[in-house]
């Protein structure tokens, strides 16, 4: 499909690899996907690239049971709208999660995964997905016996 052709993949690659968006330096608003114009400041706006932290909360989610061919192997896959801590909303899959723990408001962080492969001999598209946040690993450093 032309929409997944190597040049089309490449044009958006950095944004997908690093979760890049835009920030208006005039008003401070952040945007995803990247924008060329700040809708509030218009011509007075100054748009800069921003790398989001990847932290966010699940705004809504679904478990897909019926998917097009290129995503078929991942079903049942969790797709969610995630509201980033900087504000913008992004859509991607939630991985490494038990479907039973899914809920609106769940804290997630971005990770780097394969989005799909174009046939066995085609290019591989990578990008951000999300996984549940675990902030409790600090305890391991306090336990002398690890």
């Amino acid at each position: 499909m032309s929409a997944t052709a190597p040049p089309a993949h490449w044009r958006r690659m950095r944004e997908r690899y690093r979760l890049l968006g835009s920030r208006c330096e005039t008003c401070g608003a952040t945007f995803f996907p990247t924008t060329k114009v700040c809708p509030k400041c218009r011509r007075k706006g100054k748009i800069a690239q921003v790398e989001f932290s990847g932290r966010g909360k699940v705004y809504s989610y679904t478990v897909i049971h019926s998917a097009p061919k290129m995503f078929e192997q991942f079903t049942p896959a969790v797709v969610a709208l995630v509201q980033l801590e900087e504000g913008p909303m992004v859509l991607s899959q939630i991985v490494d999660t038990d479907h039973k723990e899914l809920k609106v408001g769940m804290e997630v962080e971005a990770c780097f995964r394969k989005l799909f492969e174009q046939e066995q001999s085609g290019i591989i598209s990578y990008g951000f997905k999300f996984r549940p946040v675990n902030d409790h690993w600090g305890k391991y450093y306090d336990n002398k016996d690890i």
Binding site: T4, V63, I64
Partner: protein, 392 residues
């Protein structure tokens, strides 16, 4: 600015929707076109302009140039013909274009068509084609499907307004009930809440019976200025208003995930232009591509407050005899959803109802005013058209 003329529908027809293995895109367009011309009592030569709604002839059947194709097969050459595309709102947008052409005074008799041949591709392929109506780079690329996007709305709606899956099931049950009474419907079987709730999950919480089918079908409407329309029919159906509004292509930048702002804006504009109040509307044909979409439409069109459409459904108020009958032909769910044709098919249903010609058991008694609501994508395009039998 040209002075606006009053526009009326002389005839509006639809083919049966479903899996038409024996019919291609040309056959479907021909069948609807001939039927519309016959019903209008006009000659093909009277048609001055043709607008056809079609979402993706190229991806579904490898055929583009649909405007010329339909003009050719209906023997309309050399009149101007064109195709318009707004995903699943292609039909509604085609109707709007035909309406503008007549209202502006540029043309008198205009044919508006909608056609889609969807079953020549495998269902997974159809899912991919339909995904072209969302933001491919930031939604489909990350694994979203259309059922998934509406499921995201449904999950959020359930979170905010305590909606239960049973209520969504009741929407499907109603639409299948009216489909059973409609000989042109894709599905003619009645279903139970139990069946809907135990049907396979497509995108949680949406199940098979929450989703409209992949259908083949076509619909055509013939428009003319009201005074000319009266020459052809005793019951011209007046186009009181037709309005379109746009919103963000993707769900990422919506003001509110549970409101389709395009519907709100198109509806407000249409009611304002028509000088008609919501309580004067006798029935509505809404874009229930998914059960949750019917719920959103009832609210966003202004028939109740956000979060309250579930009460109307639970109380049976969306059946004929209730406060606001919804989708008396079975809707997209049961009557079928040949995407490019759907917007025109809705007009055909309203015309039938307003003329009192609906099938037994599904006629809204004394219907004077009807509203059609057609959506493209997840609400990036909304078309709202209000019709009345004022001209009869």
């Amino acid at each position: 600015m040209l002075k606006k003329r009053e526009v009326a529908v002389i005839s509006a027809v639809t083919t049966k929707c479903g899996e038409h293995w024996d019919k291609g895109i040309k056959d479907l367009a021909w069948e609807a076109g001939v039927k519309a011309v016959e019903e209008a009592g006009i000659s093909g030569k009277d048609i001055e302009y043709l607008v056809v709604g079609n979402m993706s002839g190229g991806m579904f059947v490898g055929q583009e140039h649909i405007g010329a194709l339909v003009a050719d097969f209906l023997g309309l050459n050399p009149i101007p013909s064109l195709r318009v595309e707004a995903a699943c709102a292609s039909g509604g947008v085609a109707f709007y274009q035909g309406y503008l052409a007549v209202a502006s005074g540029l043309y008198d008799v205009v044919a508006v068509g909608g056609v889609e041949k969807m079953t020549d591709v495998e269902p997974e392929q159809a899912t991919s084609v339909l995904a072209g109506a969302m933001d491919f780079e930031w939604e489909a690329y990350f694994g979203a499907t259309f059922p998934a996007l509406y499921a995201l709305i449904a999950t959020r709606y359930m979170h905010e307004y305590r909606l239960k899956p049973e209520t969504l099931a009741k929407i499907a049950v109603k639409n299948h009930y009216y489909g059973s009474l409609n000989p042109l419907a894709h599905f003619r079987n009645k279903i139970t809440v139990e069946e809907a709730l135990t049907s396979p999950l497509v995108a949680d919480p949406l199940r098979k019976y929450d989703c409209s089918p992949i259908s083949d079908g076509a619909a055509v409407a013939i428009l003319a200025p009201l005074d000319i329309a009266k020459k052809y029919t005793d019951t011209p159906i007046v186009v009181e208003a037709s309005a379109i509004a746009s919103d963000t292509l993707s769900l990422l930048k919506r003001r509110d995930l549970c409101t389709l702002d395009a519907t709100v804006n198109a509806a407000n504009k249409a009611f304002q232009l028509a000088h008609i109040e919501r309580e004067d509307v006798d029935l509505i044909e809404v874009h229930d591509c998914f059960s949750i979409a019917e719920l959103l439409a009832i609210e966003d069109l202004g028939f109740c407050k956000k979060g309250e459409a579930q009460n109307l459904v639970e109380e049976g108020q969306t059946y004929i005899g209730g406060r606001i009958p919804v989708n008396t032909d079975g809707g997209l769910k049961a009557a079928g959803h040949p995407v490019g044709a759907t917007g025109v098919k809705q007009i055909a249903e309203l015309v039938k109802q307003l003329r009192g010609e609906a099938d037994k058991g599904r006629q809204v008694d004394g219907a004077e005013v009807g509203l059609a609501h057609n959506i493209g994508g997840t609400g990036a395009t909304a078309v709202v058209t209000i019709l009345s039998r004022r001209g009869a």
